[in-house]
């Protein structure tokens, strides 16, 4: 009797334990590869690739070496950087000037390497400021921000910067529609549909020196422009913008902008727009926007306010813009290396539509339209569609390409990257990302002949990937080897800020153009001091100009007297070194500003208003030499109205000998 009861009991236990195994095991990656050798860059060796990574809400651009994932530099662009004196020195302050005044921070989302004939040429990198709409150009000889231009009629400069295949234009689009600058902005918010407009800006880039100028703007319906790509090859002359919020909602967009089954990709024929511009069809609008440039000759930034922009109206000029339906709240809009296929990634869609440029042209020619959207013809979905990738994953965001006809799309919701073939629209491989990937970067992924080999996924959620650092964690990035059929995870590294996007270029292209020092003879800063003999302190009313030099290991002058309360003191410091990697720093006690960090041959100015009577030391902040600790000086502040004579010297101001020591 007991035996049978036992059997029943054991049977029950087996049943229970067997149920436990009902949880499916992940197939997972099978044998993990020898990733270490693929990412190890031996001491003294260089990385293969420079990647220029957007800093997101840090406002800066970071430079990472691939495949090591090492941070090489953080370039200050839209946020002040007290370490480098960016936005603190008199020479760099104007860079952050806008029509709203000096803005010390912004949100840098996307980067674009300058291109020649569809290939990255290593001259400049462009970046966008999302909050106070601006586009910046960074010079890749010096890795410094050379120029910033503000965009009028704009808000939420997200769909930016994206460049044409020969860097003819850097193009920007607005995420937030607003009433245009010269219309009355004081309207009720719920008159969005009547009063709010989106604006595309076409900024021309001068071939020789990269100088930017807003060539024209196109006024568009009040949708949110998200991302954009230039056509290339056969589609050169066209631009494609993903649009969402075609519902034109002004509140609770989370729900109200997700209603329509399809939003749009807007195709813009900018060559046609150029023709209209030449024919004088643009409206000249009175606006205010800043244009700032930094010169490496004068080592100074200048800021001017420009007051006019030419706007073309997409409602009036019928054959510039066309809407192509795209499911559903599209984010990415990417053009393949041949220029024929345009891939739309709808954030909330469960498929990826691929459009054909040839079919779009045919549809326009035969007017295969499905009505209009706010005056812009809407092309029939099937007429523009090449095909759809079915069930690729959840929440596609962004696509880049390799040189073998494959596309790589990031999926935020299902936290993976999916590889698929463009021609047969078949999924070839998928890899998980840790966690929730936003954009990805394939080296050369948006050029005519992608370099491929590496793919970096920039993720939005970090959680347990690295050692925890309190509630706030760095964003995570994973590096994949895509040289084979299957993608292989080879490195996992944290990043600064929040990288939204990055572009990579072969290190050799950029490496050879690097500036090592600035030649002191060529320095045309108005306050340059070209030798110690020329160093001086000059009083002009209540302004005291200190023409200072620094060299290993002293300042000249390093003793200054005769400055009074109520004075404005300008330290114009010139680094006389002409040797590689010998910067000097400058800081003064109690000054409410950042330091100066001065490169060889450069001049930078720190403005200081003394706040109390007494003795203020200053010193070199960047370890420059064996006697760096000795590189210091004093400035004496006397009360207002005192008659202490102006005195400045180095080495000469010896103590008076007292009678007893004779």
């Amino acid at each position: 009797m007991k035996n049978n009861i036992l059997k029943v009991a054991i049977g029950g236990l087996i049943a229970v334990s067997a149920l436990q195994s009902c949880k499916p095991k992940n197939a997972g990656n099978a044998v993990s590869n020898d990733a270490a050798s693929k990412v190890y860059v031996a001491p003294g060796k260089y990385d293969e690739i420079y990647t220029f990574v957007s800093g997101g809400f840090s406002g800066q651009m970071s430079v990472y070496g691939i495949p090591s994932g090492r941070l090489l530099r953080v370039i200050p662009v839209f946020s002040v950087d007290p370490e480098k004196g960016y936005g603190y020195s008199e020479e760099t302050k104007p860079m952050l000037n806008t029509s709203h005044g000096m803005v010390p921070w912004d949100d840098l989302h996307h980067v674009q390497l300058s291109k020649t004939d569809g290939e990255a040429d290593g001259r400049w990198v462009f970046a966008n400021a999302n909050n106070t709409p601006r586009v910046a150009r960074i010079d890749l000889k010096t890795f410094r921000t050379a120029e910033i231009i503000e965009l009028p009629n704009s808000a939420g400069n997200h769909s930016s910067p994206f460049i044409t295949q020969n860097t003819e234009y850097v193009v920007a689009g607005t995420r937030f529609s607003v009433p245009p600058d010269d219309a009355n902005g004081d309207v009720p918010i719920n008159t969005y549909k009547q009063n709010f407009k989106g604006t595309l800006s076409f900024i021309s880039v001068a071939k020789e020196d990269g100088k930017m100028d807003i060539s024209f703007q196109i006024q568009c319906p009040g949708v949110n422009f998200d991302l954009s790509r230039a056509g290339k090859g056969k589609s050169h002359g066209w631009f494609f913008f993903s649009c969402y919020n075609t519902e034109q909602a002004n509140t609770l967009l989370e729900v109200n902008a997700s209603q329509r089954d399809k939003d749009f990709i807007m195709a813009v024929n900018w060559k046609k727009a150029e023709e209209y511009l030449k024919a004088g069809k643009g409206r000249k609008q009175s606006v205010k926007y800043a244009h700032n440039s930094y010169s490496d000759v004068t080592h100074t930034a200048t800021s001017e306010i420009r007051t006019e922009v030419t706007v073309l109206d997409s409602k009036e000029l019928k054959d510039i813009c066309y809407m192509i339906p795209c499911p559903k709240s599209p984010h990415g809009c990417d053009v393949d290396p041949t220029g024929e296929y345009i891939v739309g990634s709808g954030k909330l869609a469960a498929l990826i539509p691929v459009f054909s440029f040839d079919k779009i042209q045919a549809a326009i020619a035969s007017k295969a339209y499905d009505g209009e959207y706010d005056g812009i013809p809407v092309i029939k979905y099937e007429s523009a569609l090449y095909g759809e990738v079915k069930k690729p994953g959840l929440g596609p965001l962004h696509t880049e390409f390799d040189a073998n006809g494959n596309a790589y799309t990031s999926f935020f919701v299902s936290s993976e990257v999916v590889k698929w073939n463009i021609k047969d629209l078949k999924v070839l491989d998928r890899v998980p990302t840790y966690y929730s990937v936003g954009h990805l970067c394939v080296i050369g992924g948006d050029t005519k002949t992608p370099y491929g080999k590496y793919l970096i996924a920039y993720n939005k959620i970090t959680k347990d990937r690295y050692l925890p650092t309190g509630p706030e964690l760095s964003q995570s990035a994973q590096l994949f080897d895509i040289s084979g059929d299957k993608m292989k995870l080879i490195l996992d590294f944290p990043t600064i800020g929040e990288p939204h996007y990055a572009q990579g270029i072969l290190a050799d292209i950029v490496r050879k153009n690097q500036v090592k020092i600035f030649k002191i003879e060529e320095n045309k800063n108005p306050y340059v001091t070209k030798g110690e003999g020329e160093s001086k302190v000059v009083r002009q009313g209540n302004k005291v100009h200190v023409y200072m030099t620094c060299v290993r290991s002293h300042f000249s002058p390093d003793n200054i007297e005769g400055v009074k309360m109520g004075d404005e003191v300008y330290f114009h410091v010139t680094n006389l070194e002409q040797d590689w990697d010998v910067p000097h720093g400058f800081a003064i006690k109690g000054a409410p500003t950042g330091e100066l960090l001065i490169m060889p041959g450069e001049t930078q100015t720190l403005k200081w208003t003394p706040d109390k009577v007494g003795m203020m030391p200053f010193y070199c902040t960047d370890f420059c030499s064996a006697l760096h600790q000795e590189m210091q000086g004093y400035i004496r502040i006397s009360p207002a109205g005192s008659n202490v004579p102006l005195m400045f010297s180095v080495g000469k101001n010896q103590p008076k000998e007292t009678a007893t020591t004779k």
Binding site: E254, I461, D485, K486
Partner: protein, 338 residues
């Protein structure tokens, strides 16, 4: 017939009372959610008096798909469940104290009915929440419903949902089992099975086989430089020759060389009956493939860690290429397996 129940049954009934008593206060059921961006896992627990666990986070996620917010107030069950369980606990105690077969049988019948009703009710709520979605939801996947599984596993978009009894649920089931044993003892049904031991063993085996087939049969990842060969105990370092054996029951054995695997098989024929064998592809060491899908070569120059010198290729052309390149010979799995 005697209406008195045996001492054993009384003990079992009192045990049931205690188990049921405890189950009133601990989680009875749990639905755990697994997604790539939630490495820490998410879970929903259902106790007699309400839902617990990561309710707020799950509600936050659910609003994207338009699922109703989970709130205790919406479930009338939670206001009466504790009383119902208490009722059965007392019922069992009374059956023990009064030593009555009739009460025992009534108790057991009602208990099973309650269990069934509870599961049906649970299923109904899951259906309701999974299908009654807000049409204004941000994420709408055409044709998709989010009904969690009643028991077991189901993939819902990027979440794997795993529904299984929690400790309270096991206590509940266990007290049912205890009552069953008491009933079996009192009714002497098992004496009928005494004559046919084979039948009872077979039915047990049938149940466990069916249930254990839930175990997934895919290959497990081999961690290079971490896992050790189950035969020679050396660290598995060369991806090209790594191989694996997965037994019927799901137990995994890893090897650094096919020779080790074959040796292990010979010495453990009882364990490895009907096992699945996976070997890595020599040219694509990222993948473990079933032996049926591979072509093998053998030769001195292949150079495997333990001298077996076998290499597997999923692509026949690669096999032919290396056959000549390494002066090896093509060989079948059957020959290797002898």
């Amino acid at each position: 017939m005697n209406n008195k129940i045996s001492g054993l049954s009384k003990t079992l009934l009192i045990l049931s009372t205690i188990l049921l008593g405890i189950s009133m206060y601990v989680p009875i059921w749990s639905i755990s959610l697994d997604a790539p961006q939630y490495p820490e896992g998410l879970s929903l627990t259902i106790s007699a008096n309400g839902i617990g666990g990561d309710v707020d986070i799950i509600n936050g996620l659910n609003h994207y798909i338009g699922m109703k917010k989970l709130d205790n107030a919406d479930f009338i069950e939670f206001s009466i469940l504790r009383y119902i369980i208490a009722f059965y606990a007392l019922f069992a105690l009374i059956a023990a104290l009064l030593s009555s077969k009739k009460i025992l049988y009534t108790l057991f019948t009602l208990f099973v009915i309650f269990g069934v009703v509870a599961m049906v009710d649970f299923w109904r709520w899951e259906y309701n929440y999974g299908h009654d979605l807000n049409p204004d939801a941000a994420i709408i996947v055409p044709g998709m419903a989010y009904q969690p599984p009643l028991i077991g596993f189901k993939q819902l978009l990027n979440f794997g949902a795993y529904s299984i009894p929690a400790i309270g649920g096991w206590l509940f089931i266990s007290s049912g089992v205890l009552m069953l044993i008491a009933v079996l003892k009192e009714t002497n049904i098992l004496s009928k099975f005494k004559k046919n031991k084979a039948a009872s063993l077979l039915s047990l085996l049938a149940i466990s086989t069916v249930l254990s087939s839930c175990a997934s049969k895919g290959p497990e990842a081999i961690n290079l430089n971490k896992d050790n060969c189950n035969n020679c105990k050396m660290t598995i370092a060369d991806a090209r020759f790594a191989c694996e054996l997965v037994t019927e029951k799901g137990r995994v054995y890893k090897f650094d060389d096919m020779a080790c695997m074959v040796a292990f098989k010979k010495e453990n024929t009882d364990k490895v009956n009907n096992a699945l064998i996976f070997v890595s592809d020599y040219v694509k060491p990222n993948l473990l493939k079933s032996v049926d899908a591979l072509t093998f070569i053998v030769g001195e120059n292949v150079g495997s860690p333990m001298g077996g010198n076998y290499a597997g290729f999923s692509n026949k052309d690669s096999a032919t290429f290396y056959e000549s390149n390494l002066s090896a010979k093509i060989i079948t799995w059957n020959s290797i397996n002898q």
